[in-house]
Symmetry: C2
C-alpha cells in the first residue's frame, strides 16, 4: 500500500498546545497501551503500520513541520517537503513526482491520499485497503471515501452517490452547506467527503502534467513557489467523471477544536493536574512543569504550555482564533530533528532556553551574526565543536561563543544531553543563523 | 502613634500567588494611583504614613518574612523578628520588649496593635488615633476595636459591649459562633473582634512579666522557643476587667480567600490576561510571563504564578487548602532584601534560576557544600567577589563557582543586575548555605 499523508494546518484553534511550528497533529494527547501519550501523527502512523507493515508511507508537508515529524516518527519516514504552501493540487502533484522520481514507484501502482489527522479506528485502514483493490478493478479513475454523516454538519463537503451500495459512482458534489441544506442532502443519501482519494500514481502525474509544465520532480520542486494555489478537489476531483465513492460507517472524527479533541481523551487530565469532585466534564492538558488545580468547574477545558494558558468553556473554545491572533507569537517550545527546546526566560537583550539533544543527535554546525551565546551543560554528556575545536562537555561545563563563531553540540551515543543556552544580543532572532557543512 | 503590625499567616488559601515564603499580605494586587500594584502590607503601611507621617511602625513577624518586608517597604521599617512561631501573646510581648529596650520608647506611651492585612480605608486609621486618645484617658487598661457586623459571620469572634455608645465597657466575649448564634449576638448589639488592641506599653510589659520570666528583650528573644503557645486574646484580653471597646462602622474586610480578594480588585485582570465578552464575574491574576486567555466563564478566578495555576469557581475557592497541601512545595519564587529570584527549570541534578539584584544591593557572602554554581549576567552591571577576588560583571560574563568557594554579587549603584544562576549537584537545597562576614 502506498499512502500519502497530507500534513498541513496552522496551530491557532488548539492554542496554546499548538504554535507556529507545532500544528495540532503533533500534540501528544492520546494515551497508548504503554501509558505514554502519542500525537495524531504518531497514532495514524502506528495504525497504518499495524494494518500493513509493508506500507510505503510518504508525508507531504511544509518545511516547518519536518523537524517535528522526524522527532515524532524517527528519521526513517519518507517526507516530501513543499518549499512553500500552495494548497493540495500542487502538494499532491509534487508528492506524486517524488514517489515516481525519488522513490521509484511504478505509475501502475495504486496510491492512497489521506489527511494526517482523522481520529479513526482500525476499520478505517481496512477501508483504505478496499479502496486500493477498487483502484485495480479499473471501474473508475478515482475512488473517494464517503463518511456516513453522524449529524447535518456545516463543516464538511458532501458527496451525493448514485446509489446506496457500498461502492457507487458519484452523482455530484456539494460544498459546505448550511444546516438546513445539510439535512436535505442527508435525506438524499449524501456522505461526508473525508478527503481520502485513491487512484493510480500515473493518474496523479497525468493530471499534474495537464495543468503544470515540468519534466521531473526536481523541476516541479524548483518552480513550486510560482504554482497556482488550488485545491485537488477543485482541480481534479470535481472535474472527473469516472469517479466512485466507497461508503464508510466506522468511527471518524475531525478533532479540530478543544471541544472535539477532549472528547477523544481517555483520561480527564494529562500532565500535572488535579481537580476537586465538584468538577464535571472538565479536561486539563498541562505541558507546563508546574501544577494546575481546578475547583468547581463545569464543561471547561484548561490547556497550558510554555506558549500560554487557555481556560475555556468547551462550547466557546471554537471561537479562540481571533484572540490567539492578538497574542504575541514568539515560539516558546519546539521539537527538532535532534531533540527539543523550550524558552525559559525572555529578557530585553537576552533569551534563555533549555536545549535537549537526543542520544547520538547533533545540531547543525552554525553561527549567529548578532548574538553571543553561552552553553552550560546540566545533564548527560556530549561533545562541542567551536570554530573547529572539539571538546567533551559534561554537567557544569561552560562554553562561550562570540557572534560569528561556528559551533555545534553532539550528544553522546547513549545519553541525552541537556544544556541551558543563554543568548545575548540586541537583535535576537531565530532567523539569525548561518549553517555550515561539518566533517566532525 | 506607635503601631505594632502583626504579620503572620501561611500562604495556602491564596495559592499559587502565595507560597511558603510569600504570605497573602505580600501579593501585589491593589492598583495604586500611579498604575502599579501594591500588596496589603504596602497598602496598610502607606495608609498609616498618610494618617500619621511620624508614626513609629514596628512589624512583628517571623524570620521567613523579613526579606519580603524589606523588599516591599524598604530597609527603613522597624522589624521585631520572632525566632519561631509562638502565637500572639509571646509575639506581642517580645515586640513590647523590643520597643522599650531597642527602640527606647517610654512605658507611658500608648501602643496600637493591629493585624497587617485588613482591607480598610483612611477612616480606620482615624479610629486608631481615637483609640490612642482613649488610652490616655485612663478609663480602661485595654481598648479594643469592635467592627459593626455586616452579616452573621461564623469566621470572627464577637465582643458584646455594655451599651450602644461609641465607646463602651465590654460586657463579654464570644468565640466564633455558628450562624444562628451569630444572629442572636448581633441582635444583642455584638461587634466583630477586629484584632486591634490599644494600651500603654507598660501594660503589655506588665502582663508579659506576669506570665514569663525575663529581664529584657534579649533574654526573651533567646528563650523564645521555650515559651508557651498562647494567644493574646486568651492570655490577656479575656482576663481583663478594665476593658473598653470602640465601635467602628467603616469599611473593613478580611481578604483571606480568592472570593473576597477579587472583590477588592479594581480591574478584572492583572498581568498578561485577556477574556472574551462571554466571561462574567471573572478575575485573572497572572504573575507568569506567558498569556492567559479565558473564554465563556462565569464566576471564576484564575491565578497563576511560577508556583502553579489555579482555576476555581469563586465559591469553591475557599476549599483549596487540602489540595494545596498535596502539591509539592518547592519555593519557585521569592522576594529577598536584595531583590528577587525565580526558578526557571528544575532538573534532576540541577536548578536554573533567574536572580534580580536591585541597584546597589548585594547578596550575603556565602558558600555551598554540595553544589557548584555558574552565573551568567544577562542585564545590568555589577561586581562579583569569588574567594576574595573581585571582578566586574556585565551581560555575557560567566562566573563559575566550585562547591565550598565563597562568593557574592553586588549590583551597580544605579543599575539593576540580572543573572541566570545554574546550580549543579546531587543534593541541591536552600538550606545548603554558609554565610560569612564580608568587608568588600
Amino acid at each position: 500500500m502506498n499512502i500519502i499523508l497530507l500534513s498541513g494546518g496552522s496551530g491557532k484553534r488548539l492554542w496554546p498546545l499548538s504554535n507556529d511550528v507545532r500544528s495540532k497533529q503533533f500534540i501528544p494527547i492520546f494515551e497508548t497501551e504503554a501509558g505514554n501519550y502519542e500525537s495524531m501523527v504518531q497514532r495514524v502512523y502506528r495504525q497504518i503500520r499495524k494494518a500493513d507493515p509493508d506500507a510505503e508511507v510518504t508525508i507531504a508537508t511544509a518545511r516547518s513541520q519536518v523537524s517535528a515529524i522526524c522527532h515524532q516518527l524517527g528519521g526513517e519516514v519518507s517526507i516530501s517537503v513543499e518549499p512553500c504552501r500552495r494548497d493540495t493540487f500542487p502538494a499532491i502533484s509534487l508528492t506524486a513526482a517524488y514517489l515516481k522520481d525519488v522513490r521509484g514507484i511504478s505509475e501502475e501502482e495504486a496510491v492512497l491520499i489521506c489527511p494526517v489527522d482523522p481520529y479513526v479506528e482500525m476499520d478505517y485502514f481496512e477501508a483504505l485497503k478496499k479502496m486500493e483493490k477498487q483502484v485495480y478493478k479499473n471501474e473508475a479513475n478515482l475512488v473517494l471515501l464517503g463518511i456516513e454523516p453522524a449529524y447535518p454538519s456545516e463543516k464538511y463537503g458532501y458527496i451525493i452517490p448514485e446509489n446506496a451500495k457500498d461502492i457507487s459512482l458519484v452523482s455530484r458534489f456539494q460544498e459546505k452547506p448550511d444546516k438546513k441544506r445539510a439535512e436535505k442532502y442527508i435525506r438524499e443519501g449524501a456522505l461526508w467527503n473525508g478527503g481520502v482519494f485513491a487512484c493510480r500514481l500515473g493518474y496523479l502525474l497525468k493530471r499534474a502534467h495537464q495543468f503544470m509544465e515540468f519534466t521531473d520532480y526536481q523541476e516541479l520542486f524548483d518552480k513550486y513557489s510560482m504554482l497556482e494555489r488550488i485545491s485537488f478537489d477543485y482541480r481534479v476531483v470535481e472535474q472527473e467523471s469516472r469517479i466512485q465513492v466507497m461508503r464508510f460507517s466506522g468511527r471518524w472524527k475531525d478533532l479540530g477544536t478543544w471541544n472535539t479533541l477532549t472528547e477523544a481523551m481517555d483520561k480527564s487530565c494529562i500532565g500535572d493536574a488535579r481537580m476537586n469532585e465538584e468538577c464535571e466534564n472538565v479536561h486539563i492538558i498541562n505541558e507546563l512543569d508546574i501544577p494546575i488545580l481546578a475547583m468547581g468547574l463545569q464543561g471547561v477545558v484548561i490547556s497550558a504550555s510554555p506558549q500560554g494558558v487557555l481556560v475555556s468553556d468547551k462550547e466557546q473554545s471554537s471561537y479562540i482564533k481571533p484572540f490567539v491572533d492578538g497574542i504575541d507569537r514568539q515560539t516558546m517550545f519546539a521539537e527538532k530533528s535532534w531533540g527539543s527546546y523550550r524558552v525559559l526566560n525572555v529578557g530585553e537583550n537576552s533569551l534563555t532556553i533549555k536545549v535537549t539533544l537526543n542520544p547520538g543527535h547533533r545540531m547543525n554546525y552554525h553561527s549567529h551574526k548578532n548574538r553571543n551565546e553561552v552553553w552550560v551543560a546540566i545533564s548527560g554528556k556530549g561533545r562541542t565543536v567551536v570554530d573547529g575545536m572539539e571538546q567533551v562537555i559534561c554537567p557544569g561545563d561552560v562554553v562561550t561563543m562570540e557572534a560569528g563563531c561556528r559551533h555545534t553540540v553532539i550528544a553522546d551515543r547513549n545519553l541525552q544531553l541537556q544544556l541551558v543556552e543563554i543568548q545575548l544580543g540586541k537583535e535576537i532572532s531565530v532567523h539569525d543563523k548561518q549553517k555550515y557543512s561539518m566533517e566532525y
